[in-house]
Symmetry: C2
Subunit: 251 residues, 2 copies
Amino acid sequence: MIHQLSLTALAGFPLVEKGDDLHRMITEGLRRAQITLRDGDGIVLAQKIVSKSEGRMRSLQDVHPSPTALELATETGKDPRLVELILQESRSVLRKRENLIIVEHRLGFVCANAGIDHSNVRDGWVLLLPEDPDGTARELREAFRDSHQADIGVMIIDSHGRAWRLGTVGVAIGVAGFPALVDMRGRPDLFNNLLQSTQVGLADEIAAAASALMGQADEGRPAIHVRGLEQPLRNSSLRELIRPEEEDLFR
Amino acid sequence: MIHQLSLTALAGFPLVEKGDDLHRMITEGLRRAQITLRDGDGIVLAQKIVSKSEGRMRSLQDVHPSPTALELATETGKDPRLVELILQESRSVLRKRENLIIVEHRLGFVCANAGIDHSNVRDGWVLLLPEDPDGTARELREAFRDSHQADIGVMIIDSHGRAWRLGTVGVAIGVAGFPALVDMRGRPDLFNNLLQSTQVGLADEIAAAASALMGQADEGRPAIHVRGLEQPLRNSSLRELIRPEEEDLFR
């Protein structure tokens, strides 16, 4: 038996605008790629297209920084209006330094600059992360169940920097169907020892794989089809992947 | 044009013993999987088989803990002999708590328990990480260039826990040929803004993808073939991925 994991970019994906129907755009992308969805397949989307479809672009002109934002902007050398948006999107600030603010995002994860993106957005505009990536992933999963009679996983990903290691990697920010965390505790290994404690961040591993294929900003491959995931799908969510603050040694 | 990233497990990979020739075992695995290596392909290996081939198993019976190890063992509730090996394999201890010691490994990365594994190893024995994973990856890359006339990337990976997020993910601990860090700074994006600062940890993204396919300890898929990486190969090493201590906000 061949064990294979294949990721295919849905080529020719159009630029996404506010109000666009991602389910329809993905469906057309699958048709162009001549892929017939099967149970257990997955679709991985870059957060950018989800945010754009939700109209999460903000004009910096319309942002009025609070005194706290002004102070943090002075400390970090960032645009005070951008800092205001970062604070609005965050629960707390973990670290700050020149041009960098590390926050706990309102969605629960820790990331730089609240994931606010100003690449691929026109001058003076920035893009906030999607409103509710778990919810959007779940809706898309249900939509494909209806339209394609296939139970698939859907994931929305972003690229995050990491403690200790250089380079961003793709991570899940919204998950449905893909098992986010796979608990290997207590499964016997090759020599019948019990594995002591291994929980695998499977959704993040798939996110990283998809991110590698999405590649560069100038190529535009925001939607990836995944086949060959062997873990059964189940209801899941980003929350599985968030380390509780009280157990986190690196806050 | 189809953009696809495919990972294939080299099925039926035998258990690895000290002194085994990994180049030969991978070659046989490729033959079984009917894969002909092409320029730009990659091979990803679980650290376990590299360590085993190098005879990096240690019997805890033969380990004599230092006073420092005894103290840290008391603090963490770990076996003092295991703690001794963790300290021998590390440059410094970053954090400690019940049953967990986070270190800077002698290879440069930060990880739990110095990556010392006691799953898949017989009772009373543990497995240290490979001596020089970059060097081994480089040697294998050269061996395949000679034997198969193909320039491939070779990577040795382990599963690491992370700050802030639950679940281990595959990360590179030795790299040759695969570009470890891809610098996107200054490349124009879709709207011709210049991307400000994006370095992608591509080797870690591929490591995560391979790890997802390697799957569970009881299945034994320690070698993965990768095809479809679009970044050109080049000389590379783990060092690219290590964030310098002085730039690390989470030490």
